[in-house]
Subunit: 403 residues, 4 copies
């Protein structure tokens, strides 16, 4: 047992951290000013492409990608502290081409894509030239149960025809978004976890309509955002199918394991930055004749946050390590724990940071409100807390009964 | 001791409730569609003025106002259930001319205004013809300690000159907003609680600039919103001063007692509606082969919410009753308790309701996200939770030491 | 609506409070010293009988009893503040003949007993001459579901024969305990809630064995205590049956409503005293150069406790008022809420008080450890928290569905 | 980074675990029966000495001891999982000679003792032949601030004279207890952290009186227990002083780091066992027609417990690893976090396990009540939660200010 990162990882940590401090954090205000003041909220601020180019030039690119032929080739445990550092800014992960949902979509293409699919979509995604979205959640049914999916993906000769309504397709409003991965039912009569398929749908296919952007606590998260998308008799070539008919659930499982833990890693960084902002604020701000830092209640909140973040970090690392050693399936217990614990932890820590910032904390003047919304949504996305809790308990009860 | 409202109050409850169900709740979608789709987010949706006219015609107008010559003449305990019912919609209170900050500002004018001030500003406010804002909080200092205020209100012959930067002036971006009540220091050398004054500043006075609207978790709360306002050598006639130099703190105290409890009452209504939405959602939504309502964890959250709301309601009523019997000053313990307990309760209950709504819960499709933001900000506004907690404990420690 | 007690109740509050301060609190140490130092932990300290005689002489006797012919004739709402004051001491309720389980047992006899049963058992109970126990819970089955009861009460000619093992018969080890009310199944083939009967079993009936006293967190709660009792072919005359065969569940329901709310009232008093002890301790105790009361964290805990106690008190009063107005059945929602909220509140508040007392807080030197154990057990007794939560949620879901 | 124990540690884990299952857990009932039924609660159950002999014979002895010449020579990180396993039983640690306060006292002797002191006291302690106690806490002052200590240790020729009253000397009532380590002030005029000394006091020295055993929630924890001890002009030779005059605080710091983390490790084991008992109980117990395990609320509590235990375990390991790499002083942040988090976690988890056990959970029939009391007291012992929280926050604020 050993709680020290390798020299290689420590070096990457230092470089990513220096990049964040020197380039990303200072660019946040510009980025948001561009979005808020521009005519078009859905245009990409130029600073983002500049940051991406710089990061790529420095070799800080596709760090998430465990496949050496495609990216950094780091395992999950080594990537964890880097993802955490990127997560300190809402715009951080994209700078390093490490943002959701593109990472998950690239992983799907690497693991399950044909060479033709890879050439067409993976290559520009890895290059950060285009963006993608993942269309799974539907407004009409509870997506906590993935088998509820109602969209249809039906074979018709050399094509598949897709019908359905999806929402919370994050990144779909991004003007660079070109490709959608869509989950739907190809065979409602099949066994419950074999009814679903996944298919690649170019965004410009006729019948695909971006109905509206969705807000998170009133924020549209432009210029990436989240979209409601209507698929109305959308026809794509049969070769766009991923892996095979009836294997959609299998792909979803393969995609979600790393996806969940990546969100957790980023949220640790968001919580850590919130805590640091909290410390700085209470040292600088005075009320009733003394700095807020002299209030014991404030210090207790700092201490609790410190403890909760450190535990969350260890849990994410332990989950990552188990994924690296035993595979995602055997690590599902620790992944589940991380998913249950870390978004809630981040929400709580950021809420405390908001409180000491007063009205500034809920405003656009700090990163806290956006970070809070991010944490809050991850408690719902990729399976709500309650579903993961239930799965964890059932596993333990089953194991005890078998013992 | 008696936990039953009078027949008169029960009748008013029934009428306000019927009005809400018949007219206000159904108008919410229209209202927001107008704001979101219009060219100008800061225009008032026509439906609001229609609703106001109807409510006024039905005699459901200025129910908040305890002074019979100006309004309904109800005491706090009688008004509490009505404010709760209005609080079930974000747009509810304004319909009945019972919305913050106008109620607080009207109260200030009634209690501390001259006849001239009343004629000019109170009359149109009571008629719902104009709106007002309250300028106390400042970005540069911790407003949890009201004595930190740095804006200046300095006598210059027959005028006062106002300089300073305020923010979180709720309602200031509203196009109907005509008058600001501004708090600032008129004598920095005076005793700590006698340095401040309050003054009436017509919004169109030269030197008053609305710098920008402020967001709450990304929402601009248009068309009322919250503004940052710059006062740059703003000159107003000396007769605009309220009550007298050095009496600003006294007015603030007089204004905040009822203001706090009104917010609490409305938040109880918001929480109650969230709980009802939660019940309806879990009865209708299915996952893993059964309604969410069949999940024990969901039922536990309903039960906890029910208990917390009921206790909050009783606490608000007890505070209101004590205000009615003994005055706001003697009721400060129960007002403080309500202020500590109820916004946090509402945040918690609404957060649970969001969770069972999944992604819809954070979106613009339910009232939950806006209600959450409202509850969250009230934990900061009018004194953050921690300041009220501290005051409560000090009172108790002092009382025990004296016993 | 009116949050003020009547003059009559205020007078009783003052008298009970003065009696507690003058006689009961000062006797606590003597009482426990007698139990701990004596040869026999199960002998009654003489001071208890002295206190009882004095309370009875002062007319502070059977205050719990709503039936004027048997006791004070107060309704639940009027009794609530008195029960709270008695609950400030573990030995308080017995002094006024208001302690569980005797109050519940007396209520059963008053409501369901024959004249002969009353003459034999109710009269000496009301006089405080004998004590009683209630035998419902069984070690082998989950008593949260009352229909699980396995003990048998079978008719045999003019007698009933009782077999079974009961535990947590509070008060059974008390040397003055003469009579047991036993619940068991008289007809396992009947409808689920008609299988049970209740019967009076004199403690000295052959076949009744006190197997052992049970500990609560290591404390035996001598000299009352809690017993495991074996019923081995115990024969009692048929006229000992209460109300009728198959009506045990009905009696249990009738007994438990007031019983639950009485426990809640007492626990509010226990929590209130814990909070007062906490205040006094932190004012007197110094660490790091200042009183603990100067630590903001301590003050926050005081404030939170104050808020929680006040809300609990209001909830208990509201429940009591509803019982008085509409009957126990219609008040089951508020009784359920009180049962869910108040024991947990008391546990939390007392836990905080323990913490500021340091090691003294868990020891025999304060009333905190015993009060903690009392609160903790009431979260289990008369239906665990979770069962009441579930019932509350089901009621609300049903009401919404019907609306 | 690597979350796998070495083969050596895995082997020891397997052996300690097998020993616990085969010998210790089955002996618990006998052990407690002996204490409870015997004439003398303070006699040692023979089974304990048998278990010790067997453990020693199997080489499972002094595993806590990092000094190879005295014990197993394991570092903290390697010892952690073993201490956890021992902590699964209240009687577990002693079996392996790994129980507090003897481990801490042995550590003091090893690190600070003279050869003569070691020969006299360390040797029999390592052999498990005698027991020891640590006398630091005093009833009259807040021991959360160690400088409050009021006992005096004053030089008088070749002797020191000790006066003072101590309490919570754990293990002092044990009939095998021979030696006390006493902390007191040797020079009240010295710098604040140099006023204290520590000295060895044989229990049979004239003037040492065991005043009374102390209860924890009513339990006397016989036959080890906790004592109040009076030192009345107790004279011991000057060579009994440890390390040197004025170095008591330094020794306390050196002793408490490992002591705190050892308690945390044991409490993880206690919580883990509680969770397992909870699982087994809810699988076996039925209410309302199905096993408790079918209740979603119960499963949620299992899942939360699982997450909390896993995070606590990782935190303890991380702290242990930092102690091993950088020393106890540099690891004080992680030790502090572990001390804040883990006892509270254990209290919470065990409380949940109690709840599903119903009345059995608070009784003497499971290990839950004793485990709860253990967890609760450790939130107070060796510095209450609040003091460690405050220290953590101050460190972070200082580090941020320096950055």
């Amino acid at each position: 047992m050993n709680f020290v990162h390798s020299a290689k990882v420590e070096d990457l940590k230092a470089r990513v951290s220096a990049f964040m401090e020197a380039h990303v954090i200072p660019a946040e205000a510009d980025y948001h000013r561009f979005v808020d003041s521009g005519k078009d909220r859905w245009a990409i601020p130029p600073v983002m492409e500049e940051l991406k180019a710089r990061a790529r030039a420095e070799g800080l690119w596709n760090l998430w990608c465990p496949y050496p032929e495609h990216g950094a080739g780091l395992n999950n445990c080594d990537y964890a502290p880097l993802a955490e550092i990127m997560g300190r800014s809402i715009i951080g992960p994209e700078v390093f081409n490490c943002n959701a949902p593109d990472t998950g979509n690239m992983e799907v293409l690497i693991k399950y894509g044909t060479e033709a699919q890879k050439a067409k979509w993976l290559t520009p995604l890895l290059a950060g030239e285009i963006r993608s979205a993942f269309c799974m959640t539907e407004p009409a049914v509870a997506s906590s149960d993935a088998t509820n999916v109602e969209a249809s993906i039906l074979r018709d000769g050399d094509h598949y025809v897709i019908n359905g309504r999806k929402w919370w397709a994050t990144g779909a409003p991004d003007p660079r978004c070109r490709i959608l991965i869509v989950m739907g039912k190809s065979d409602p009569a099949a066994e419950r976890h074999r009814q679903q398929s996944m298919i690649l749908v170019p965004f410009d296919t006729p019948g695909v309509t971006l109905v509206r952007p969705l807000n998170v606590f009133g924020a549209d998260d432009a210029p990436h955002g989240h979209a409601e998308i209507l698929f109305d008799n959308v026809r794509v070539p049969a070769e766009n199918l991923l892996l095979g008919e009836g294997r959609g659930f299998e792909i979803a499982q393969g995609r979600l394991g790393p996806g969940r833990i990546h969100h957790c890693m980023r949220l640790i960084g968001a919580a850590q930055r919130a805590l640091e902002l909290m410390c700085d604020r209470v040292s600088a701000r005075r009320a009733f004749g003394k700095p807020l830092a002299d209030q014991g209640v404030v210090r207790q909140q700092i201490a609790l946050s410190l403890c909760e973040i450190e535990q969350a970090r260890l849990l994410a690392l332990a989950a990552a390590d188990k994924m690296d050693r035993l595979g995602n399936k055997d690590a599902r217990d620790l992944i589940g724990m991380a998913k249950v614990v870390i978004p809630q932890m981040a929400q709580t820590v950021i809420d405390r940071a908001i409180q000491v910032h007063g009205a500034a904390g809920v405003s656009q003047d700090t990163f806290l409100a956006a970070a809070f919304a991010y944490a809050r949504t991850i408690r719902i996305a990729d399976g709500p807390d309650e579903v993961h809790q239930d799965a964890l308990a059932r596993q333990m009860l089953k194991a005890r009964a078998a013992a």
